[in-house]
């Protein structure tokens, strides 16, 4: 539902889907980090202590996987790479310095957003598979300890990578004014669409 004079960017269902995923992500990051470095062990208190943190962390992961899978089905066709994206990446310095005059027009998502989408997809898959391998309460007997060592090393590397992607994602939402409103309330202004997603705006105007 968009306000008069604004453009609808995300439906209510899409936003709820996004924020469930985001909430799970934050809970996973906090509980995972608490077991990653001793100086962050105090974060286990947020989840009722060490044993509860250990027990609940994988369940957050299951919920996130389901939620993200729905998000993936909704959005992957908007995130397919095309020639415009390669051109856009070539002008990334202009984008970062807020001098977007020469930056090619982009559609619904720019190359940076697409990279976030695909790295999240890849890393969530890696984290889920390695996470299952080290979910000892239910899956201990299925793999050897050697395999579990590989899994846990990859799991921690992938976790740090995905948190870095998350930081970039969140900062981009803060940096590009008007973006957060799109995900919170569902609508953006025509000016926001003109400035950041001009092809998408033109497609909307043509009724596509």
């Amino acid at each position: 539902m968009s306000q008069p004079g604004t453009i609808s960017r995300y439906t209510t269902a899409q936003r709820i889907n996004h924020w469930i995923t985001a909430g799970c992500f934050i809970l996973l990051a906090l509980s995972g980090m608490s077991l990653f470095h001793p100086s962050l062990f105090f974060l286990t208190d947020l989840f009722g202590g060490g044993p509860y943190t250990r027990a609940i962390h994988p369940w957050f992961g299951v919920v996130l996987l389901v939620s993200f899978a729905i998000l993936f089905v909704r959005f992957f066709h908007h995130n397919l790479w095309n020639r415009d994206d390669t051109a856009w990446i070539g002008k990334i310095d202009k984008v970062i310095s807020n001098h977007e005059e020469d930056v090619p027009d982009v559609g619904r998502y720019n190359a940076g957003q697409k990279l976030v989408f695909w790295s999240m997809t890849l890393l969530i898959l890696v984290l889920f598979v390695t996470g299952i391998v080290i979910w000892d309460q239910y899956f201990f007997g299925f793999t050897s300890i050697e395999v579990k060592r590989v899994a846990i090393a990859i799991h921690s590397l992938a976790a740090v990578a995905i948190i870095a992607v998350f930081i970039a994602h969140v900062y981009a939402g803060i940096w590009i004014r008007g973006t957060m409103g799109g995900m919170l309330h569902g609508s953006v202004t025509p000016g926001w669409a003109f400035r950041h997603h001009r092809k998408w705006l033109r497609d909307l105007a043509r009724g596509r």
Binding site: P38, I96, N98, I134, F140, A153, S156, W175, I176, W192
Partner: protein, 301 residues
């Protein structure tokens, strides 16, 4: 830290501070002379009795190994190997398996819970179960495949080297009960000296490769074996020839931890610096005019 001082703890899992280190105790060791073991399993019984553990009854699987493996209620098991030597003779190799109490313990390195695994000044590596969260990282850190997670209370268990007995001047229960004197306990220095005498005896009796198993890869251990075939420890039911903490454990629990945290901190700071230098990207009034034109099809001539 007072408890660390009174208990003479030298290492504590997932703890960035260092315990007080002014007092030193002589290192202790349990010496298992495999050549004197008759496989009676009295040590297993004594262990269960002292620690008040009763493993579940298992079924016969065609082996003397009983129980078939270590479990949360069986902290030591005899492992029987029938080996045909070069001369074609059968040798019955019986090894009492259990925690080796490494000087450089992989379990302690991997443990994420502060104080769930400690190393005492005398060398004993102990699990403090009340602090254990049941994550199983110790299982992955151990080069000897010793810790077991209980499915009842989701905590890790293994041999304590009877730290409760040792702290009041008693020998471990298995040592006290061994009828052949195959298990000895004392200062590590004395145990090493005694082992050397045994090795001389064994060599005289034709075991040219007899030797002491005290693997330097894990800084030495506080449970040592006298082996008739010390050149091939893996003959003894897969005792690791060169036990070491897996490099993957080092990657995951070593330098990666501070580097990763610093990297994530840097990413957040980079965002803040960008905000200060480049600033927010605001939609301008003329953008709204152009955007409205496109929507109203006024841009098409």
């Amino acid at each position: 830290m007072t408890d660390l001082q009174s208990l003479d703890i030298t290492r504590r899992s997932a703890t960035t501070g260092t315990p007080p280190d002014i007092r030193h105790q002589p290192a202790v060791a349990k010496l298992i002379d495999v050549s004197r073991c008759i496989g009676c399993k009295a040590c297993q019984s004594a262990c269960m009795e002292w620690n008040d553990l009763r493993p579940e009854m298992e079924t016969f699987e065609g082996s003397y190994d009983n129980p078939s493996d270590l479990n949360p209620a069986a902290w030591t098991v005899m492992r029987f190997t029938e080996w045909e030597n070069e001369a074609g003779n059968l040798e019955w190799l019986i090894r009492k398996d259990g925690c080796m109490h490494c000087s450089d313990p992989g379990c302690l390195k991997a443990c994420p819970s502060p104080g769930a695994i400690v190393q005492y000044a005398n060398g004993i590596v102990d699990f403090i179960s009340e602090n254990c969260i049941g994550c199983g990282y110790c299982v992955k850190g151990c080069p000897f495949n010793i810790p077991r997670i209980s499915q009842e209370d989701h905590r890790a268990y293994k041999c304590t080297l009877c730290s409760d007995r040792v702290s009041v001047g008693l020998e471990p229960a298995c040592v006290k009960t061994c009828p052949t004197g195959a298990i000895l306990f004392g200062a590590k220095e004395d145990m090493t000296a005694w082992a050397q005498e045994r090795i001389v005896d064994l060599k005289e009796r034709g075991f040219a490769n007899a030797g002491l198993y005290d693997p330097p890869e894990v800084g030495g251990t506080h449970v040592m074996y006298v082996l008739h075939h010390a050149d091939r420890p893996s003959l003894y039911a897969g005792l690791p020839d060169k036990p070491r903490i897996d490099p993957l454990v080092w990657l995951w629990k070593g330098m990666f931890k501070p580097i990763a945290l610093a990297g994530l901190g840097f990413a957040a700071i980079a965002g803040f610096v960008h905000w200060v230098v480049a600033g927010p990207n605001e939609v301008q009034p003329e953008d709204e005019v152009h955007g409205r034109e496109i929507l109203d099809h006024k841009d098409e001539k």
